[in-house]
Amino acid sequence: MVAMTEATGEPIEVTMRGDDCPCEFTWRERSYRIVDTGGRWRLLGRWWEGDGERHFIRVVTDTGRCFDLCRYASTDDWYVYRAWD
């Protein structure tokens, strides 16, 4: 079983392939190439307080590390939601 190491919320730059498939991102000054994607899910926060919809995607990088990336649907801003060990 994997243990969760970090829930960060740090903004990242993501390069896309096509409309909604990330292929590369930079986190903490290091670039990761995405080799596989897992589940995708979407969540609403407290929309009545202005929270927008967030799209999540689980990715496996060329380093073998697993990340849950998140994108705000309204702004297209990405951040690392969780970095798995």
Partner: protein
């Protein structure tokens, strides 16, 4: 790509769980490239007919289903007993649809569904939590396809989610055995949820594979556009009475429950393509067609009539005649349906004959029976059967028979007969009055021959229309009539039509505001500022209405609230009982109509009147009319005084004092003739006979007012304008109305006289002119009219002129029969008020709320008629008002106990019962001890001076009441503590009474208004007298001394406010002000409304500056140039409640005025106190 069909969809009829209008669903599906779509609301088919119509119209195939809340297969495994599982059922065919209707009814009514009306069984039904039992499902499971339901509430997925695999399989096997493997699908969702929920579809697919069951993908949609997720989320909170900050498992974590395209769905189920393919396959299997072509008439059961031994002679004769044609069955089937084909294409003037009803022995007997009844009735009313009457009866009966309406008439006759036998006052209204058959059967009371009424206006052989016979009953006894109908036809065949209540501005603000967590007071303040408008008009209202604009609302933090209120506008909020519409089925209604329970235990169809009409179900309107109660009361009082009851239905129509009353416009309380506008019109018309009453009722309608038919009518009537006819053939038709076309019947007669149209053709033409007609169709119609007129030697120009004339009036003309039916009641009320004012006004006061004015105004008017108003008395008052003659030969009105605020019907019954058994009450203590009336109600009785007989002042009595212990006076709920001291001791307890001031006069009036709604001493407005004199205000009676056009200042309490539609669309508000001595009519137009609107809607007492308009001897009104609010009771330092009541009564009154349909009804209802 495989086509996909949405099979699990919720509309707003899944109350609190669907955020889109059902009508929008088919179009959205089509726009997404689909050729079929299903509707599956929670435990409801209420949207079915609208959905079907919308789908068929745009060529999308509708599929109908229901998501049921169902008894769990494994109750022991249910996580939360409050949340039973869901199961989705789709109708495979029409029989499947019928089963859905039966199942919805069973889920909604349970075992109570077989009970007759007003049964106690209904009290046990949980209206808010319908539940389908497994037993009911088993009984009606045929022709249905079952889907396992949503992830959370479907029993199978919910068990799987909790990893109870064997149990989930057991449930799946249960349903597989019940429906068969071909008819059960495991439903898969992919709503892009995070793990572990995102994985549940794989576990479901595994289970399905193990059991050999097919899977199907659905999106469980709760809104069409994604953007509606906010509203849907708020609606769930509203339903749970929670705020958005509170957690609720029913709320959805994201916005994926919208109508996705086939492409999106295929992508979401890329790894389960068979589930997508199965959705299309199921859709292809479902063939649902609503029959919108056949009329379904109720069938009159003659057998029962015979068994009851009623109308024996008539029935005997009828069966004799029938026997010669065909030997009837020993016991003909109780229910027979007469389907009559309805043509698809709109029928024009061409003759159309609907498919004849199958002639059965029963229907032949019914036809003969109806004829006999008509002949008997005609002999009774006309003395003998003249050739004219016989001919007309033959003509009408032939059409009635051809249209298959014999049973319908017999049913109405039977209901009216029942009412009459029980002494329940009733009268038919509407175009049914055009029929001689209705008249001789006693359904309507205006003679169609004498009043020149045309049968074809009611029932046109050339149209596929269905008649609407509306009957008004004494509203206090309407329930007896409906109970009779339920008992007579059986619970399975009778249901009330529903009304779909939708969100309006106030309800939307209140409910959404609460869910968004705004404080209650803030919401209340915001909601109360808005007039009764649609929720979608809120933003506009902030600009448009001065009363909103000038309230200076702080809307900065309420943007979301107002946006959501706009979205919810027009969506259904709940179903309620339609005022009168009853369905009587020839077969059990549940074959095509789902039923549920509304308030007060009334079984309603989930279909409203439009749905019902589309389905061809013939309904009848059994309405309650309060004026009938008032008339009955008045007749009771007269009988008590004179020992004989006036026969009001047989009054000669030439009673001079009655017309004098009308001409003097002293018509407060009169049916249909009391509104300020109508009083104004009466003054101008100066009626002298019954035809004038009919004309008055017909003229005071939005149409004629907008088209200004009134002025030429009045000018010509008084000889100020020449009466001309474009063609001599029009003279006999229009001479009664001085050449002005007022009635729809006249349009028909003109088309007949000039162009030789048959009455049926003429009615089709009239209807075409009434609707939005294209210029081409109008040209064609005109051409035909001129051509046909030419054949009768009417010149083209004249024909053109006449065509233009009826074209202008056709849209506005009023149904004379309706006016004549109502006019009879108006005349009866005029007669009563002219001859028995105290008895009549007592009846009106007892029947509140009704009519145009609050009880306060009615009481003031009674005082003007010479009647005193006496406070209620526990030893003299009855439930209703009485008339006493000891001090006054005209009669004083002793207010009834019903009028005492807070005194419940139960308490009134107990007081009257106790008085009858144990004699008069000796004292306050005696009253409390004997009746257990709750303390707050006793307090109100004291305040209303119902204990004046004790000789003690109100304050003294209140002191005593306060000192009485809880074993003498009952608490709020009417419970008394067990006695701890003897009753005599109580007197000692209250002996330590201090000296108390008596009440001030202002206090007296304010208290009266607060507790009783009327003043028993003096006019409330008299307290303003001094101030008004200083302001130079002219009292109402002195206005008669002023000249037309003179500037005046008037003041009064607003008693009614109406804002009718105007031709220009600009605002016109008509206000009745009441000052100390009478009523003043005030008109406020757009400019003044814009500058002074707020005073009009916030201040109960106003002063108006303006110009006097006088037309004719008795017409007088003030056109406002300025309106000043004059404050309230606070200024006298007392009774703020009295003030509030005045203000809110006026506001509610306006609301009622807006709600009142133009065709009339019971007039404007005022809820007061």
């Amino acid at each position: 790509m495989t086509a996909f069909t949405h099979l699990h969809t919720h509309s707003a009829f899944s109350l609190h769980d669907g955020a889109s209008a059902v009508e929008d669903l088919p179009r959205a599906a089509r726009d997404a490239g689909m050729d079929a779509v299903a509707l599956t609301d929670h435990n409801s088919l209420a949207g079915a007919v609208r959905f079907y119509q919308a789908a068929v119209e745009i060529g999308v195939r509708p599929i109908i289903g229901v998501e049921f809340t169902i008894e769990p297969v494994l109750p022991g495994c249910l996580e939360d007993a409050e949340r039973p599982p869901h199961l989705l059922l789709l109708a495979e065919d029409n029989e499947g649809y019928s089963n859905l209707c039966r199942l919805v009814t069973a889920a909604r009514l349970g075992e109570a569904r077989r009970e007759s009306a007003f049964s106690e069984e209904y009290e046990r039904v949980d209206r808010d939590n319908p539940l389908l039992t497994q037993q009911h499902l088993r009984e009606h499971r045929g022709h249905l396809i079952a889907l396992s339901g949503c992830r959370k509430r479907g029993e199978i997925p919910a068990l799987l989610d909790r990893r109870l695999f064997p149990e989930a399989e057991q449930v799946a096997e249960h349903y597989r055995d019940l429906f068969g493997g071909e008819h059960l699908f495991i439903e898969l969702h992919n709503h892009l949820l995070p793990r572990p929920h995102g994985r549940s579809r794989y576990r479901l697919a595994q289970l399905a594979a193990r059991l050999g069951l097919p899977c199907v993908a659905t999106n469980n949609l709760h809104y069409i556009e994604k953007s509606r997720y906010r509203l849907q989320d708020v609606m769930v909170c509203m339903g749970a009475r929670q705020t958005v900050d509170e957690p609720n498992p029913e709320r959805r974590p994201n916005a994926e429950f919208y109508l996705k395209t086939s492409y999106q769905m295929a992508e979401l189920f890329a790894d389960q393509p068979e589930a997508i393919a199965n959705a299309a396959q199921i859709a292809a299997r479902c063939e649902w067609e609503l029959d919108l072509e056949t009329f379904h008439f109720p069938a009159f059961d003659m057998t029962e009539l015979k068994q009851r031994g009623e109308s024996k002679t008539l029935e005997h004769r009828a069966s004799e005649s029938a026997a010669t044609m065909e030997r009837p069955h020993e016991r003909p089937p109780a229910a027979l349906e007469h389907p009559v084909g309805r043509p698809r294409a709109p029928v024009r003037c061409a003759h159309h004959c609907p498919r004849a009803a199958p002639r059965t022995a029963n229907s032949q007997r019914a036809t003969i029976f109806l004829r006999r009844l008509c002949e008997e009735g005609a002999r009774r009313l006309y003395g003998h059967l003249s050739a004219e009457v016989r001919e007309r009866l033959d003509h009408e009966l032939a059409i009635i028979e051809e249209k298959g309406l014999v049973d319908y008439f017999l049913i109405v006759w039977d209901i009216v007969r029942f009412a009459r036998e029980r002494g329940i006052r009733c009268s038919g209204r509407g175009s049914a009055g055009d029929s001689l058959v209705s008249y001789v059967l006693g359904i309507t009371h205006a003679d169609p021959i004498a009043h020149d009424l045309l049968f074809e206006r009611f029932l046109n052989p050339e149209r596929r229309n269905m008649p609407d016979i509306d009957v008004d009953f004494d509203s206090r006894r309407r329930d007896e009539v409906t109970k009779y109908i339920y008992d007579r036809y059986g619970a399975e065949r009778v249901a009330a039509v529903c009304t779909v209540n939708t969100f309006r501005a106030r309800s939307a603000i209140r409910e959404i505001g609460r869910a968004l967590g705004f404080p209650e007071e803030e919401i209340g303040r915001l909601a109360s500022v808005f007039p009764h408008i649609r929720a979608g008009d809120i933003s506009e209202a902030v600009e448009k209405y001065p009363e909103v604009r000038d309230a200076r609302l702080d809307l900065e933090d309420k943007r979301l609230l107002i946006e959501l209120a706009g979205e919810i506008a027009g969506l259904p909020r709940h179903l309620s009982v339609h005022v009168g519409g009853l369905l009587i089925g020839a077969r059990p209604l549940t074959e095509m109509v789902p039923l549920e329970l509304a308030n007060k235990g009334i079984v309603i169809a989930q279909f409203d009147k439009d749905d019902v009409e589309a389905l061809g179900l013939v309904k009848m309107d059994i309405l309650g009319l309060r004026i009938h109660s008032a008339i009955e009361d008045a007749a009771d009082h007269i009988e008590a005084r004179e020992g004989r009851r006036p026969d009001l239905d047989a009054l000669p129509l030439d009673d001079e004092p009655s017309y004098e009353l009308l001409r003097g416009t002293h018509t407060v309380g009169l049916f249909q003739l009391e509104s300020p506008g109508q009083r104004n019109l009466l003054g101008r018309v100066q009626p002298t006979d019954f035809e004038d009453i009919i004309a008055n009722i017909s003229l005071f309608r939005p149409g004629p007012v907008q088209a200004d038919m009134i002025t030429p009518y009045i000018m010509r009537r008084h000889g100020l304008q020449e009466v001309t006819y474009p063609h001599p053939a029009l003279e006999p038709i229009l001479s009664d109305t001085f050449g002005v076309v007022i009635y729809q019947e006249q349009v028909l007669q003109i088309a007949h006289a000039i162009a030789g149209f048959s009455p049926g053709e003429a009615d089709v033409m009239r209807r075409m002119m009434t609707k939005d007609i294209t210029p081409e169709d109008l040209d064609e119609l005109q051409e035909r009219f001129i051509l046909r007129a030419g054949e009768r030697d009417v010149g083209t120009e004249t024909a053109q002129e006449i065509f233009g004339m009826i074209r202008g009036f056709a849209a506005y003309g009023f149904n004379k029969a309706h006016a004549a039916c109502f006019g009879r009641i108006s005349y009866q009320t005029a007669w009563l008020k002219a001859h028995y004012p105290a008895e009549f006004m007592a009846g009106i006061l007892s029947s509140q709320p009704m009519g145009f004015y609050p009880p306060r105004t009615v009481a003031e008017d009674a005082r003007r008629c010479g009647c005193g108003i006496l406070p209620p008395c526990v030893n003299r008052s009855e439930d209703r008002c009485l008339v006493e003659y000891e001090r006054n030969s005209v009669g004083d009105i002793r207010l009834g106990l019903w009028m005492v605020r807070g005194l419940q019907e139960r308490s009134v019954e107990r007081i009257l019962g106790e008085r009858e058994c144990g004699g008069p009450f000796m004292s306050l203590e005696d009253f409390c001890a004997r009746t257990s009336t709750p303390r707050p109600a006793v307090e109100n009785l004291v305040l209303a001076r119902a204990f004046a007989f004790t000789g003690m002042s109100v304050r003294e009595l209140l002191w005593r009441l306060g000192a009485l212990p809880a074993d003498v006076v009952a608490d709020r709920r009417g419970r008394r503590r067990s006695p701890s001291l003897a009753y005599d001791d109580a007197d000692e307890l209250v002996s330590t009474l201090p000296a108390l001031d008596s009440m001030t006069e202002v206090g007296r009036v304010a208290t009266d208004l607060q507790i009783l709604g009327v003043s028993t001493t003096r006019n409330a407005f008299s307290f303003w007298r001094e101030r008004l004199r200083e302001m130079g205000v002219t009292p109402s009676v002195k206005l008669w001394e002023r000249e037309d056009g003179e500037r005046v200042r008037v003041a009064g309490i607003i008693v009614s406010r109406a804002r009718p539609p105007t031709r220009s669309g600009r605002t016109a508000i008509f206000i009745s002000l009441e000052d100390e001595l009478g009523l003043i009519d005030v008109a406020v137009f757009e400019d003044v409304y814009q500058s002074c609107g707020r005073a009009l809607y916030t201040s109960p007492v106003i002063c108006v500056e303006g110009r006097l308009t006088r037309m004719g001897a008795l017409d007088l009104s003030v056109t406002a140039e300025n309106v000043i609010g004059l404050g309230s009771w606070d200024d006298f330092g007392c009774a703020p409640i009295g003030d509030k009541t005045l203000g809110s009564a006026a506001r509610r009154n306006e609301h009622a005025a807006r709600q009142t349909p133009a065709r009339g009804g019971e007039g404007r209802q005022i809820a007061y106190l």
